[in-house]
């Protein structure tokens, strides 16, 4: 549990966590979520739909970039986003001592 010491000085082994501790964790989670969802919206609704014509001036291989984002690129980004969230969230939960590793 060494990682818990590095965060707030809240005792984490007593079973319950304090409200302040919980709020800090939840704020960090919301921030992470907002950042990842911004990327999600940017690649799909942004690059593939709204700014498509601009991006189509560039190309990836033989395909216009905006078109490629709409058909393949955004899907690759979605996969990366979920795994990134999974890893970063796990780190966050360990930091706050509320991960479910031992459950």
């Amino acid at each position: 549990m060494a990682e818990n010491q590095s965060s707030k000085a809240t005792p984490v082994d007593t079973g319950n966590i304090s409200e302040a501790h919980f709020k800090a964790y939840w704020r960090a989670n919301l921030l992470l979520m907002a950042a990842l969802l911004a990327i999600w919206a940017l690649v799909s609704f942004g690059a593939a739909i709204l700014f498509r014509e601009t991006l189509d001036q560039f190309s990836i291989g033989g395909a216009p970039f905006g078109f490629w984002m709409a058909q393949q690129g955004s899907i690759y980004v979605f996969v990366i986003l979920i795994f990134a969230y999974s890893v970063l969230m796990h780190r966050l939960e360990r930091k706050y001592g509320i991960d479910d590793d031992m459950d």
Partner: protein, 644 residues
């Protein structure tokens, strides 16, 4: 050439279909369910990667497997709405819903809605949404199963639907979620293999690369980019360029959003995340699910351009032969420049037709209906006929059929699970007969599965008109009802039962009305059917929320709806004409209206919640504990001051 007296195609198809069905039945016997825990959530112990595979199979229906590549091949850029819409929803699921719903730890989506909103009425509204969405969806799957059987195994559609339904029923009723999960893992393997084999062959032929995904950005054997040549060919024939798209931008935006949010709100997808051991596994599992889905979804756009290019090259300006069409000469002898044998073969199934109308002995494929001679072209042809178009061996065709069936059956099973648990667990155990024991509940669940299958068989044989609008209905309604209610339930502690009930109802009714108006039209019979559904819903609400000493308002309303239903079904109400595309709201098609329904549902939920009392403190504690992945820790409100 015949094997055991059957043509090679028929032999291989029968072999693959029968052996894959045998495999599913074997797994079902191995994974029997002993408890309600096993039956509803596979004992909460499915490893994330297996659950990811099962989710992928659950998710990818006959439409993804058979129709999607064809739709993209026809619509080019416009087809992107399905590619992004049906994958982007997993980001929402993984980030916003799955881990919290898993931590909540119950069996069904109405479970969450009913508990979080401390209300039987909310639970019943959720049950009604879940049943309506799942029944629409399952009817489409059963129809797909019937068509696969009738086209390939020469079994009548009725027989095909019944065989498929019995197989699904066997492992759903026996094994519940546990049986379904492990059969879905096997079905995923069958379907992805069946989709990739022809795609890889085609990719090798056309681009020389074994990775079909690269075909979208690659060059053809002549060194020119494939997409560029396809754009030129299509515009020469009078079609719009493949990369251009014809839908309005706002419609593309709305459809993509509705499909993404609808995906995240579909009950048969959500319940898959209840089967993993813990909250962090739900996130991983969503990631794996999307990986497995992405393998097919990134291949589909490449298959689409291969198929469209191949089709034009081999059919356009080819020499037509009436003798080959009538089958009086051996089609295998057709040579270079002649309409290929597969064209005549598929013409026999009715999915494809051509007519040399200008009598020049050649087939012209054009956008202009005046000069176009390919008179009928079913979009499903592109995946089904790909093996023949590419000249692949007969066993590949059998594989594709088995894959299509795996896709349809796995989705049907997931939906069946939602229907059976909504009826047995949510409706019977939690609302109508609260004193039920576990054993009785399990029996009810199995009986409900049987009843649901009978309805699905009927709907598969006599598809009701709304099956054609299945995508609009299922995704639109999930987006407009479940998604806002679940999301606000997790992220906004102030959200109360009044907000949830009003929000779900407003989203559901508005979206359904819009889709019916523009896809089916409010005729007297349709209005009667809607009123009958409303009467039934109100009756269940009455029995579920009955208190002594209260005026039976709901019962009265139900009676009134019943009278309207009878008048409507008797044809005595006025018929309204179906809406046309010109009068779409903001130019948004019925498929995209779920996005508007969702916004409406959010707005109604939030305003009604703010105008009515806060939820009880116990609910706030419940929501806070859902937000903590660890099962051992709770928020301690007393210690707040000392740590700030």
């Amino acid at each position: 050439m015949d094997i055991l007296g059957l043509s090679p195609e028929l032999f291989w198809t029968a072999l693959f279909v029968i052996s894959s069905f045998g495999l599913y039945i074997g797994i079902a016997i191995w994974a029997r369910a002993g408890s309600t825990q096993d039956f509803y959530v596979a004992g909460h112990d499915v490893p994330p990667i297996f659950n990811g595979m099962a989710t992928a199979a659950d998710w990818m229906s006959a439409a993804s497997f058979l129709s999607m590549a064809g739709i993209i091949a026809f619509s080019g850029y416009d087809g992107s709405v399905y590619l992004m819409g049906w994958t982007g929803g997993y980001v929402l699921l993984a980030l916003l819903l799955a881990p919290y719903l898993r931590k909540f730890g119950k069996f069904t989506v109405p479970d969450f809605v009913g508990d979080r909103y401390y209300s039987q009425a909310a639970r019943i509204v959720a049950v009604i949404c879940a049943l309506f969405i799942s029944f629409t969806y399952i009817a489409g799957q059963m129809r797909g199963v019937g068509i696969a059987f009738s086209n390939f195994l020469h079994v009548p559609i009725e027989g095909g639907v019944i065989i498929g339904a019995i197989i699904v029923l066997f492992y759903a009723a026996l094994g519940g979620m546990k049986g379904i999960t492990y059969t879905q893992v096997a079905q995923y393997c069958v379907l992805i293999f069946a989709f990739m084999v022809p795609a890889i062959f085609l990719s090798l032929q056309i681009t020389g690369s074994p990775i079909p995904q690269l075909g979208l950005i690659g060059n053809a054997q002549d060194g020119l980019p494939l997409l560029q040549s396809l754009d030129t060919t299509l515009t020469d024939l009078g079609f719009s360029a493949y990369t251009a798209g014809t839908k309005a931008r706002i419609d593309v935006f709305a459809i993509t959003l509705a499909l993404m949010v609808g995906t995240a709100g579909l009950p048969h997808v959500i319940i898959r995340f209840f089967t993993v051991p813990k909250a962090s596994d739900a996130r991983k599992s969503a990631g794996w699910a999307l990986v497995f889905i992405a393998i097919l979804y990134t291949t589909a756009p490449a298959v689409a351009i291969f198929a469209r290019a191949n089709f034009i090259e081999s059919v356009n300006e080819s020499r037509w032969s009436d003798a080959a069409a009538a089958g009086t000469i051996d089609r295998a002898t057709l040579g270079e420049g002649e309409t290929p044998a597969w064209f005549y073969n598929w013409r026999d199934t009715g999915l494809l037709d051509a007519e040399d109308r200008n009598g020049d002995g050649r087939i012209q494929y054009r956008a202009d209906p005046e000069t176009n001679e390919v008179t009928h072209l079913d979009r499903d042809i592109f995946v089904l006929a790909n093996p023949e178009i590419g000249g692949l061996p007969a066993w590949v065709i059998g594989l594709v059929v088995a894959g299509g069936l795996a896709a349809a059956l796995s989705t049907a099973a997931g939906l069946l699970m939602v229907i059976s648990s909504a009826v047995s667990h949510d409706l019977c155990r939690k609302v109508l007969f609260t004193s039920m024991s576990d054993t009785q509940e399990l029996l009810t669940a199995r009986l409900a599965a049987v009843a649901a299958v009978l309805v699905a068989i009927y709907a598969g044989i006599n598809p009701p008109g709304f099956v054609a609008a299945v995508v609009a209905f299922a995704f639109g309604l999930a987006a407009a009802s479940f998604f806002p209610a679940i999301l606000l339930g997790i992220f906004w502690t102030r959200m109360n039962k009044h907000g949830a009930i009003c929000g779900m109802t407003a989203g559901l009714v508005t979206t359904a009305a819009y889709i019916v108006h523009f896809k089916i039209g409010f005729s007297s019979v349709v209005m009667g059917a809607c009123a009958a559904l409303a009467a039934l819903a109100l009756l269940v609400l009455f029995f579920g929320t009955r208190k002594t000493g209260q005026l039976p308002v709901l019962l009265g309303m139900s009676g009134l709806a019943g009278i309207i239903a009878i008048t409507g079904l008797a044809g005595m109400l006025p018929d309204f004409t179906m809406g046309s595309a010109q009068s779409w709201f903001l130019g948004i098609s019925p498929e995209g209206f779920g996005a508007i329904g969702m916004i409406l549902s959010f707005a109604v939920s939030i305003s009604v919640s703010l105008l009515t009392p806060s939820p009880p403190d116990a609910i706030r504690t419940m929501v806070e504990n859902i937000r903590i992945p660890s099962a051992r820790k709770h928020v301690d409100h007393n210690s707040a001051a000392s740590n700030q």
